[in-house]
């Protein structure tokens, strides 16, 4: 069920188990049958921790979504509200509770705040006069949710907006807390590197928390050697570009939420022959995506242009395997074949699924508009004409293409040119406002505030320097058999990942100059390990609980890269690629506040007042 979490270098299943244990403990606190009322946003992330079956074992009989009015009738003793600490949700809960109390036999109410309880919310409940109606008010600390064997996310949608736009550092606090939990389970991380304002904050908080717990030494052998904290605003360019890996494109086009993607059903229709083919299923097809699926693990991080070849190769292998049965002569051979059947059938259906998905994506990637868009992006990234008004953007506005597409392109031009000339910037802004409506001035303001759009202040554009020093543009990116991370964007190597790569070898000292050009401080901290552990680290790794494949890893180092403000699938792919490089010597585990793509990211920065005039 969660096997994919334990395959990797670091067994993330431990983290999941810890989270499950805590959930069970809370559920057992409320004796008797119970119904859970969900804050809808939480159901997705929770699904990654605990399936319904686990809840059922603990006498959860009904589940509802939180809404106004009263909780639907159900014959249970307890009602538990699972909510984020948001004031507007408190009002709804209060409404629920008040109507509950009017019933002849009110049920016991409990609240579980995720990830943290908040005084403000409790105050609000008090004002509504319902605070005392709750038997239990508790918090369920869910900071980092394991997504895959090498991926953790906090799934906090607005983290980037809060940190960089609203100057709200709550999510940074949660990050620091989450990292402390991680260290409690996986040992103290001896080295911390960071780049950016927020990274500095998180590191400071971690060190302070560590001092507060100074009494209790953590005796677990460290699993991670290094922690790298990266601010998203150090690399604003990467998420704006269209991702070109298989998984990245699925996300760009259909959006992946909590490891699931919803796809238009037409392509999958033929798989249900029983329905007579008349009425196509109207429900979107839901597909789970993680590395538990063998085939997907193989192709997810490939450049899309290499996916087709991989799929057809796989198809040949599978049909060859099915052909085997003709050669099976002895009873033993047949038995052997039959025992492999379920596995082969699973492989076949996963192949069919991904072939359909790839076809869907291909329809889009081969379209003219996709190609034009990509061409312009690549021109910007190589620094062609970034200081002029771009005619493609002009045309797109005139045809009223989706606003987010325009914003992504304009922001990209601004980032690649280290700001736009005032005249150019005003022209774009005016065009956007006139075409899409004046209310978007708020959005444009937000984008300026976080630095995605800016007027050029100096005549010096340091992007080309950064690009050259860090080799962000590779002319001959090999998409089929990549030899450099630039394959994930067909030429552009994500800045964030390049920084990570340079840190491992030869170290940041070699790029001091460039680091100074990027926003925010860069720093290095060391955390003392308990003296007993020092010797052990050098000797053979003995703690098999954590190192399942310790024997084969040899001298490899493990680095946890934390992206503050979001990470894209293509960046993850690039880091996985680095992990697999033979001479790399470093394995990467990725953590982030949110998995993003350019669209969802820009959207989180938009302000859209509901305009209605009577």
């Amino acid at each position: 069920m969660a096997a994919h979490l334990s395959y990797g270098r670091v067994n993330l299943n431990i983290l999941r188990e810890a989270a499950r244990k805590e959930l069970r403990e809370f559920l057992d606190k409320c004796a008797g049958s119970k119904a859970i009322v969900w804050d809808e946003y939480l159901t997705g992330p929770f699904g990654l921790i605990a399936q319904y079956s686990l809840l059922k074992e603990h006498e959860v009989e009904k589940m509802f979504t939180l809404k106004g009015g009263r909780v639907p009738p159900a014959d249970v003793k307890n009602i538990i509200f699972f909510v984020r600490p948001r004031l507007e949700l408190m009002d709804i809960i209060a409404e629920n509770v008040i109507s509950e109390e009017k019933l002849p036999a009110p049920r016991e109410a409990h609240i579980l705040f995720v990830p943290r309880r908040s005084l403000l919310c409790e105050q609000r409940l008090k004002e509504q006069g319902v605070l005392n109606s709750f038997t239990n008010i508790d918090e369920y600390i869910l900071d980092l949710i394991p997504y895959d064997g090498d991926l953790l996310s906090m799934e906090s949608e607005s983290a980037f907006r809060e940190c960089y736009l609203e100057n709200d550092q709550t999510s940074l606090f949660h990050t620091a807390k989450g990292l402390m939990t991680l260290q409690a389970l996986y040992g103290t991380i001896p080295q911390i590197f960071g780049k950016g304002e927020c990274a500095r904050h998180v590191a400071n908080m971690m060190l302070r928390m560590k001092r507060e717990f100074a009494g209790s030494q953590n005796q677990i052998l460290p699993v991670f050697d290094t922690l790298l904290l990266l601010d998203r605003n150090v690399d604003l360019l990467t998420p704006l570009a269209t991702q070109l890996t298989y998984e990245g494109l699925i996300d760009e086009i259909y959006g992946i939420t909590n490891g699931y993607v919803k796809l238009p059903p037409e392509k999958f229709a033929q798989k249900k022959p029983g329905e007579g083919g008349k009425d196509l299923p109207t429900e979107p097809k839901k597909l789970q995506l993680n590395s538990a699926e063998e085939l997907y693990a193989e192709i997810r991080d490939k450049n899309f242009n290499a996916v087709g070849a991989a799929l057809s190769k796989k198809a040949k292998i599978i049909s060859a395997a099915f052909e085997e049965r003709h050669n099976a002569k002895t009873v033993g051979e047949i038995k052997n074949f039959v025992s492999q059947l379920p596995h082969m059938q699973a492989a076949r259906s996963s192949l069919a699924n991904h072939t359909s998905v790839a076809e869907l994506i291909k329809d889009i990637t081969t379209s003219e508009s996709f190609f034009d868009n990509l061409t312009v992006e690549q021109e910007f990234m190589t620094g062609v004409d970034t200081d002029k008004i771009n005619t493609y953007i002009e045309d797109c506005i005139a045809q009223k293409d989706p606003l987010i597409k325009i914003l992504r392109l304009v922001c990209m031009q601004s980032v690649c040119n280290n700001g736009l000339k005032q005249k150019v910037l005003d022209y774009y802004k005016r065009e956007i406002l006139q075409t899409y409506g004046y209310e978007h001035i708020l959005t444009l303001n937000n984008l300026e505030k976080v630095g995605l759009l800016k007027p050029q202040t100096t005549t010096r554009n340091n992007y080309p320097t950064i690009r050259k020093t860090l080799k962000l543009w590779m002319e001959d990116a090999n998409e089929q058999n990549p030899n450099d991370i630039s394959y994930v964007y067909s030429g552009y190597a994500p800045l964030s990942v390049r920084l990570t790569q340079v840190l491992a070898r030869p170290g940041w000292r070699s790029i001091e100059e460039v680091l100074k050009m990027l926003p925010g401080p860069h720093f290095e901290e060391r955390q003392q390990l308990p003296s007993g552990l020092h010797k052990k680290r050098k000797g053979p790794v003995s703690n098999m609980y954590h190192f399942e494949f310790a024997g084969q890893q040899g001298e490899n180092r493990t680095t946890l890269v934390f992206f503050l403000g979001g990470v894209t699938y293509a960046e993850i792919a690039a880091l996985r690629f680095l992990s697999q490089m033979e001479d790399g010597g470093t394995e990467y585990i990725i953590a982030t506040t949110k998995l993003i793509n350019g669209t969802s990211w820009v959207k989180s920065l938009m302000d859209r007042p509901e305009a209605q005039i009577l």
Binding site: E394, D395, I397, A398, Q399, K400, D426, K429, R430, E431, L433, Q434, T435, Y436, G437, Y438, E439, I441, L442, N445, P609, E610, A611, Q612, I613, L614
Partner: protein
Amino acid sequence: FYVKASYQEKKLEARIGLLQSAVDEYNKAKNEFAAKVTEEEMRLLRFQRRLEEEKGECLLGFSLHDTISTLLSLGLHKHAEQLYKEFRVPDKRYWWLKLTALAEKEDWEELEKF
């Protein structure tokens, strides 16, 4: 920027008032561009209302782009022309607009003239 909450205001008169105070704030903050654009917005709102009273077409709240394209498809070329000049819409975009609007309406005669 807080003044921009004016969008919640449903009555047009009150809204224009709030936008005016937004303009004042922008001027104080020396944000010329924003001030100018907001003034433009007020002009557009007034224009839309006037037209609504005259022709009975619902235009309020549309963006300039949508307003012009609606006008064109209604055959109100003079009004569209007026907006085009008043708001200094770039030629390129106006032609695109006109082309699509006329083609959609299959008003080939007008297209010919143009």
